[in-house]
């Protein structure tokens, strides 16, 4: 075990998988000579050479399409988006090529499309977004969002070994703010198994990605107020661990869904509908959602903090549910 940041855990997984499998290569903007805008691939060029760490022109659709193709003939490309906001430039290749290839022809496309998501770092409308719902809505893509350094490593390892296109969404705030003990060597977290971050009996908070940290903080606050809160971290939206969600809600009878992406048609709506459909008879209160407001992510800190979910907003919704 070593104490690693979330970012170091991602680097570690990439490096180990590249050493293990010569078919894994990295492709993206500024990842080779510069080591990546966030330095995730620093030193990779020296170790693996320019055939496996490929700097690209600023042309996401072009290099994503190329990487997708290579994935169908035995390679396992890992594509880095410098900021996940630029994934929209490659949207067509992802939703129409990657997502549909196996369904159309039975030809596998093992590719990982990864990059930093999330706000709270005052980076403005084009360096802060959370696009998971676009991809969770597209059949044929797996969507993974690690909230811890251990999971960042374990889920990325599983994603690289997965035989399908995986959208792997990192959180840039956690990159250098969160660190914990991470297993050395091979560490795999299966895609589609949720984690319980706290165990409780009065309320289930279902979340994923960096928002899980807010939910854990809320659970601690409410514990002091005498409430027992269970935080379910989905870890992947596709595949979705329905069983863990439903088990938890059947136990607590109260459910709150929290995520950083904006509210309308966000993935929380899907979770809320699932709970309403499968757990209606168990519920003691309506399912509530806390998410960002339905506006672009603004730059100025007071605006951005007003837009994002917070410990206070989640705690407020939790108290309403507990008092219902």
């Amino acid at each position: 075990m070593a104490r690693l940041t979330y970012l170091q855990a991602i680097s570690d997984a990439l490096k180990l998988e590249m050493r293990r499998d010569p078919n894994v290569f990295l492709i993206g903007e500024d990842i080779a000579v510069f080591g990546g805008a966030f330095k995730i691939t620093q030193g990779f060029l020296d170790e693996f050479g320019e055939g496996r760490v490929i700097d690209t022109p600023i042309a996401e659709s072009g290099f994503v399409g190329a990487a997708c193709a290579a994935a169908t003939v035995g390679f396992r490309p890992v594509v880095e988006f410098q900021f996940i906001d630029f994934i929209s430039c490659a949207f067509d290749q992802i939703v129409n090529y990657a997502a549909k290839c196996y369904y159309r022809w039975g030809i596998q496309m093992p590719i990982v499309l990864r990059g930093p998501t999330g706000g709270g770092v005052h980076a403005g409308p084009f360096h802060s977004q959370n696009p998971e719902a676009w991809f969770a809505h597209t059949p044929g893509l797996k969507v993974v969002l690690p909230s811890t350094a251990r999971d960042a490593k374990g889920l990325l390892t599983a994603a690289i070994r997965d035989n399908n296109p995986v959208i792997y969404l990192e959180n840039k705030f956690l990159y250098r703010h969160y660190r914990e003990e991470v297993p050395d060597g091979e560490h795999v977290t299966p895609l589609g198994v949720a984690a319980l971050r706290t165990i409780g009996s009065d309320l289930s908070i279902i979340s994923y990605g960096a928002t899980v940290h807010l939910c854990v903080e809320v659970a601690r606050l409410l514990e002091k107020e005498g409430a027992s809160v269970e935080v379910v971290d989905l870890r992947s939206l596709v595949p979705l661990d329905r069983e863990t969600i439903l088990e938890s809600v059947k136990k607590t009878s109260r459910a709150l869904v929290a995520h950083e992406a904006n509210l309308t048609a966000g993935f929380g709506a899907e979770v809320a509908a699932l709970i309403a459909h499968e757990c209606f008879d168990y519920l003691d209160a309506p399912v509530l959602r806390v998410a960002s407001l339905d506006v672009p992510v603004p730059f100025s800190p007071p605006l951005e903090m007003a837009m994002l979910p917070s410990v206070d907003k989640i705690a407020g919704a939790a108290r309403r549910l507990l008092a219902y």
Binding site: F63, A70, P116, S147, R197, I199, P301
Partner: protein
């Protein structure tokens, strides 16, 4: 803005093949094989259009009539292990490479046959192992230029002496993917050959409204790549030009863009009556139909007897008829199969024991929202 009919400028392409058979390295069997692939596609598509009008084919059908020489000529000069991808107009290329008409017909009828099992139209096929035809995205024009660069990249990374040949059309040179794919391929000197069939219309929109240059090849200097432009209905001209492009790419000199001027004899799909095409343009290209010209060349210059040609054509007609019978007899896919084969099985798919230890606490949560001056993290504010 007043709409005036554009004046039709007709090029000076000859209405007969120029090659002297004594200069060609092909024996009679090989010359027959070219004719069979082109004529088989033409006959098949004529039949497919009838079936569509009879309501026996669902959706829409897209035909490649008029583009048989570019299709067959280009793929005929590929070597073992080379890849190619097609657009909607290259059925004859598939037939030349050995695809069975009965399987294509069954796919058009939505039947349950591999590899699509009814999930994809009849004109899109991917079969890497048997055909060298890899999967790519056919939905939006030019989407397959980046994937073409990707297959060429795979050859280069593996040091394989192969090329990737991608058919495309004039309409596909407008989207950004055309630039992004060719730009990447040229930077890395990838063995990518673009066969651009300029068939005069992108759906209904003329070349003049599609591109501000006369030739697609005029765009090649932007990528610093090899390019040629030719009349595309002369089978032997196509072969020579495609071969030069392919050998350029195979020699490690980077991509080649080979442009062929040809004509889409039918509408974008069979639902399109082509009312936007001037009659003199149709007539000009009808006189230069690639199959008609090649047939005349076989008779006049390659010593094929009329009865030999007739026998080939009878055989083709019978083959298409039996393809229809075969296709009609195939089963439709079962409705309950619709959700199958969405995800490929993977080594770390969840197992029951993975659910045993789901409690993994977060000891010290990280809460965003710090302003830059309060942020004590190391290695940058992010």
């Amino acid at each position: 803005m007043s709409q005036t009919k554009p004046r039709v400028n007709l090029p000076d392409y000859p209405a007969e093949l120029q090659a002297d058979p004594r200069d060609l390295p092909y024996d009679k069997d090989q010359l027959r094989r070219f004719y069979e692939a082109m004529k088989l596609a033409r006959t098949f598509e004529e039949k497919l259009a009838s079936l569509y009008r009879q309501g026996k084919i669902n959706g829409a059908v897209y035909l490649g009539m008029g583009q048989e020489a570019t299709s067959v000529g280009s793929v005929s000069v590929l070597k073992q292990g080379d890849f190619f991808t097609t657009v909607a107009r290259n059925l004859s290329a598939y037939f030349y490479k050995g695809v069975e008409p009965r399987d294509v017909m069954a796919r058009w009828m939505g039947k349950d046959i591999p590899p699509s099992h009814g999930r994809e139209l009849g004109l899109f096929l991917a079969d890497i192992k048997n055909l060298g035809n890899p999967p790519y995205h056919n939905g939006s024009m030019a989407s397959w230029i980046p994937s073409g660069a990707g297959y060429a990249l795979a050859f280069k990374l593996r040091k394989q002496p192969n090329v990737m040949l991608a058919f495309t059309g004039d309409g596909a040179t407008s989207p950004g993917d055309f630039y992004e794919g060719l730009n990447f391929a040229s930077i890395h000197k990838l063995p990518l050959v673009i066969i651009c069939e300029v068939n005069q219309f992108a759906y209904s929109t003329s070349l003049a409204k599609q591109m501000p240059v006369e030739n697609v090849a005029d765009r090649a200097p932007a990528f610093n790549i090899y390019a040629e432009t030719h009349f595309g209905n002369d089978l032997f001209l196509v072969m020579e030009a495609a071969r030069r492009g392919i050998e350029h790419a195979r020699g490690g000199k980077g991509p080649a863009l080979i442009e062929f001027k040809t004509f889409r004899q039918r509408g974008h799909g069979e639902h399109d009556d082509m009312a936007y095409v001037a009659p003199e343009l149709r007539e000009f290209w009808a006189d230069r139909d690639p199959i008609k010209m090649y047939r005349e060349w076989l008779l006049k210059r390659a010593r094929f007897k009329p009865e030999e040609i007739a026998a080939i054509e009878d055989g083709i007609a019978a083959r298409v008829d039996s393809a229809i019978q075969y296709a009609e007899a195939q089963p439709m896919p079962k409705p309950e199969s619709v959700t199958e084969r969405l995800f490929a099985p993977s080594p770390h798919d969840p197992k029951p024991e993975d659910r045993l230890n789901r409690y993994e606490p977060i000891e010290t949560p990280s809460i965003p929202g710090l302003t830059a001056s309060h942020d004590k993290s190391t290695g940058g504010h992010f």
